[in-house]
Symmetry: C2
Subunit: 296 residues, 2 copies
């Protein structure tokens, strides 16, 4: 990334991180432990890709993005909910996440479960609070809640996790892997881009945001699979090779390393092409290229 | 209950049960198992108290309740989500629910977890779909989502579950138990009554709905605690005495059986008094009295 774009990304991350802390700042005495568990997982770092995409698409659509920080953070709340539940013993049973012990290794498993549940619901409270406060219209709030809830549910992220579980320990086809990925990771990334357009009242740009998200979401997952083979614990913050150990089908096991790299490059190029439909895209183009060469 | 009121309750239950089946009817091929798990837990029966309260308060407020069936069922989706997660090994580790094996005894634990997650999100999809379809206004949808998400979250049902976990194996005060109960069971019952008023566009009646719900919610929990001591497996559909075994503080362990019965009767009387602020309350009064003398 160019120096100026790196500063811009870091600035986004700083604002998002501060906003996430504000969201979990109030800790009612008797329920303090769940708020601490939520904060623990939310403050573990990460790229903050999803909230960044919300803000950036609102900005690309010509709107002042600053007033949408809390709404953008909702995507990180949902993402974090999915990570906490994914790490639980009955799911992937992962002891590490982003280089730190998983939520249920620090807090009782019951509290980790409920922290995930609370992070699943909180976005809908935040979005409708913003409508009540008059920051967004009720029409906009309804659209946002509709897009987000569908991206989470049986035909979105959760559905992708189910397909993932059902696909364990057997070879799956590339088509099946594409469906799995487009739901498990893709749905929330797409919702992020679309919600940015909705916030800026530019529903006409949604199809372009969706095309961009389709390409970037798939490229993102392929790079994840490549990193699981080529990365290191220090860079990833979790054990490498965990996918191949569990005999999971990935883009690398199905297509091989070379072909996977080729396709992720092609998808990144396609994503960059779609951005031609927006103005002032230098930053997002740079981020899109960075996602291809990232090390974690 | 009088015969006519019993028929009316059964009719509500029939309509609610049919609507719940419609909600889970579509089962995408690759994610079929999660839809089946959701349907399994939703079709286990139960009083359907929460959706009935939504519909009944909409009716008491003078609105034609039939068009709100799906929205009323959202309360049963949330309630069922909480039951599935409550039964998981890391929570209460209950093998039975409503006389049948718990969700995670029939489906893999991972699928049960995700089924709960999906039932947590689905209500927000359903409510905003109804706004998109024009059945309710966007303003109404925003209010409903706001009330429901707050009733679920850290300051609602989930918060109550956290206090419950934190209170295990130690004596708690009556005040603490009241707070615990008002969140764990009370929040969703209150949301049901309030959402009925919101649907009928009678926000002026919300304070009365809240007072009614406060009394009924507490009475409901006290009766639950009494049944845990006095009930039978056949009637309850779960092992009796499970609360006292786990050294849990309940209204019965804190107040004793006699005082618990006395208070639940007083609360029921207060609830009936509040209903004087509505017309055509014969049915709901009868149901309120039935909740006091129920056997499960």
């Amino acid at each position: 990334m160019t120096e100026i774009n790196e500063i811009m990304y870091k600035n986004y991350q700083k604002e998002i991180n501060e906003c996430l802390l504000r969201i979990t700042a109030k800790k009612p005495e008797l329920q303090k432990i769940i708020c601490e568990a939520m904060e623990y997982s939310l403050s573990a770092g990460g790229k903050r890709l999803r909230p960044m995409l919300v803000l950036e698409f609102a900005r690309l659509c010509g709107d002042d993005y600053k007033k949408y920080l809390e709404i953008a953070c909702c995507l990180e709340l949902v993402h974090t909910f999915s990570l906490i539940h994914d790490d639980l013993p009955c799911m992937d049973n992962d002891d590490f996440r982003r280089g730190r012990p998983s939520c249920h290794k620090i807090y009782p498993e019951s509290i980790a479960l409920l922290a995930g549940d609370a992070l699943n619901t909180l976005p809908f409270e935040i979005i409708t609070d913003k409508a009540v406060e008059g920051v967004i219209s009720c029409e906009t709030a309804v659209k946002l809640v509709n897009v987000l809830s569908k991206a989470i549910g049986v035909n979105g992220m959760i559905g992708g996790q189910v397909i993932d579980i059902e696909a364990e320990n057997r070879r799956i086809s590339l088509d099946e892997l594409n469906t799995l990925q487009s739901l498990k990771t893709g749905a929330l990334i797409k919702a992020s881009c679309v919600m940015g357009c909705i916030l800026a009242n530019r529903d006409d740009l949604i199809p372009f945001a969706e095309s961009y998200a389709d390409c970037v979401g798939r490229a993102f997952q392929i790079v994840d699979d490549i990193l699981d083979v080529e990365g290191s614990f220090e860079e990833l913050g979790k054990p490498i090779g965990s996918d191949s150990e569990s005999k999971k089908s990935t883009y690398v096991t199905i297509l091989g390393l070379e072909k996977s790299k080729e396709i992720s490059e092609k998808l990144t190029k396609d994503a960059l092409d779609v951005l031609e439909n927006f103005d002032d895209t230098e930053f997002l183009k740079d981020v899109t290229k960075y996602l291809l060469v990232r090390k974690n």
